[in-house]
Symmetry: C2
Subunit: 336 residues, 2 copies
DNA sequence: TTGTAGGCGTTATCAC
DNA sequence: GTGATAACGCCTACAA
């Protein structure tokens, strides 16, 4: 069943059928109805490949995700996919992991398939070295690229992100103003977003006239990070003699690990130790007490990613950078 | 840059270029090398749309997922995508939700794009009524369909699942043999898998000479279910006077909710109340104490889904049903 | 072993 | 408003 069959049954040429399919205005109402009736009756759907060949597009966007099993990213994935689908775009998924090579391979795969646009989820896609971002520039030379929670100033790259620096600063200030003296900042990423969060932590210290202590700024990350590992890492720090009365983290999982640590040490939360997570994921509600966390407005970010991509695909002028403000959601793991 | 450009540069016909690209054996080593060199130098990649049109395939499988934000399904998504990609297949994603209509729409979208095969993730895709499975049969009439954790005997439908009935029975027996008398069975789904789990619970009671109590078999489900809601639901049951010394659940989230309930009531876990989850997701490690849970071998299931799909696509004869056995992973939420 | 030519199903550009 | 017809870029008999 192809366009010729339809044209024959409707007694018109394939050009007319094509016009009807593409809502061309140059078709009389009568023929249009007749053709539509035939299409309906035959259950005809235009061949997507042929259409793709002609239009050089199959209405598809590529979603690049380091790890779709991550609670935060999987939530983003859902928002993005639903958003694009509701606007007639299908989504091709690639779980690339964090390695540069694999990410570049993912981009190439999408490019080879002539995807209309690309969304890169999470700040891991932006390298600190310019050389490492070559693949990104290259991708953007072919199609619009939207960076969810990433920042990279480049033609045809659109950045949608949350003000992590400020959010982290506000969270730290909240802890300090609540009487905490020594905040352990626990982070899992050294990329763009990771650096900004760390800077926010430093901002907060400075704003309160405190000087930073290197020992209180700790990086911890594993390929398959588990709550238990995080707990054990904190127990090690404790065994080394490090003292702190609050833990501020760059991810909820780290925060949950801190709660576990407190329990293992017999510390009361938030009495002896205040804990703040990041992302406001469903993990926050699983821990006991529930985790205070930074809500970085994922749904709004994703909606904006979709809108930006659609705009770019329509050739409209879109902002290169859109920044949302985060909220601190206070729960049982902090005082007040 | 197309196949003509390459043929010209290499001084051969497009047929020869095509043969080289498709690894046809009927090409001399010399020309093959020459053509490959040109292709390499030009950075040529065959147009995917044209190729799709000719072969009626773009090496793509559709992944239908009720909700990619679900921890269990997002993990499955990652396994499946990586598996297919490593075998040269790209994955198109559709987050359909649980509504029949939306699922059917998802199937249609995939069909219209001429996806090579379809994986439906989770038992929600199989309806209890035969009429509701029409869309499934129809999908299978066009392409192989693999059901992850679903069961539906039908030509061209391949079911890969875990023996939920037996797993649930063993979990319940474990609780009974540990001295528990009244196990509350809390479940969130009434579909095929849900029914089987419930039956497993009943099997266990019967095997220990106990008669079931309707009040101890409770259904609870919300669109966006949260741990807190589950806790409150159990508090309600408690307020109604229902008594139980163990909670067996059909999903980890429900189990975590039960832990929350215990804490709210001041009950000790597992002293006063034993709790068992299902899926062995990362939620298990977040709760305190950690949740005993049924490990239903997701990775193995997904690997098998991929292998089955690939086999079916190659026209090999594949088993219609593959069943894996689950494991009970014992943690702090149960005695012993 | 290699080349020629027709087909895949659309869209788009012309005439009429 | 409608109809031929040439792209689009590849695959694949069939011929040489």
């Amino acid at each position: 069943m192809n366009i010729y069959d339809i044209s024959r049954r409707a007694g018109v040429s394939i050009a007319t059928v094509s016009r009807v399919l593409n809502c061309s205005p140059h078709v009389s109402q009568k023929t249009k109805e007749r053709v539509l009736a035939v299409i309906e009756e035959a259950g005809y759907v235009p061949n997507a490949f042929a259409r793709g060949l002609g239009l050089n597009s199959m209405q598809t966007v590529g979603l690049l995700c380091p790890n779709a099993a991550d609670p935060y990213l999987s939530q983003a994935l859902t928002y993005l996919e639903r958003g694009f689908r509701s606007h007639g775009y299908d989504c091709l998924l690639a779980c690339t992991g964090k390695e540069l090579e694999a990410r570049a391979a993912g981009v190439k795969a999408m490019k080879d398939r002539h995807v209309d646009g690309l969304v890169m989820m999470g700040s891991t896609f932006v390298e600190t070295s310019e050389r490492g971002n070559h693949y990104l520039r290259q991708a953007a030379s072919t199609m619009p690229v939207v960076l969810l929670n990433g920042h990279y100033p480049c033609e045809n790259v659109y950045c949608v992100l949350c003000d992590d620096r400020r959010a982290t600063a506000e969270a730290a200030q909240f802890l300090l103003d609540g009487g905490r003296k020594r905040i352990l900042y626990l982070y899992h990423s050294r990329n763009f977003s990771g650096k900004h969060k760390l800077q926010g932590y430093l901002d907060a210290l400075e704003s309160r006239g405190l000087s930073p202590d290197e020992r209180l700024m700790r990086y911890y990350s594993e390929d398959k990070m588990s709550v238990v590992q995080v707990r054990d890492f904190l127990l090690e720090l404790d065994a080394e003699g490090l003292r702190f009365d609050a833990v501020l983290t760059s991810e909820d999982l780290l925060g949950v690990g801190a709660v576990k640590y407190a329990r293992a040490k017999g510390l009361s939360v938030p009495g002896d130790l205040s804990i703040v997570g990041y992302n406001n994921s469903h993990l926050c509600l699983c821990s006991e007490p529930e985790l205070t966390s930074v809500d970085n407005k994922l749904q709004a970010l994703c909606a904006h990613c979709v809108a930006t991509m659609l705009g770019a695909l329509q050739g409209r002028v879109m902002p290169q950078l859109t920044v949302f403000a985060a909220d601190l959601v206070r729960r049982g793991s902090t005082l007040g």
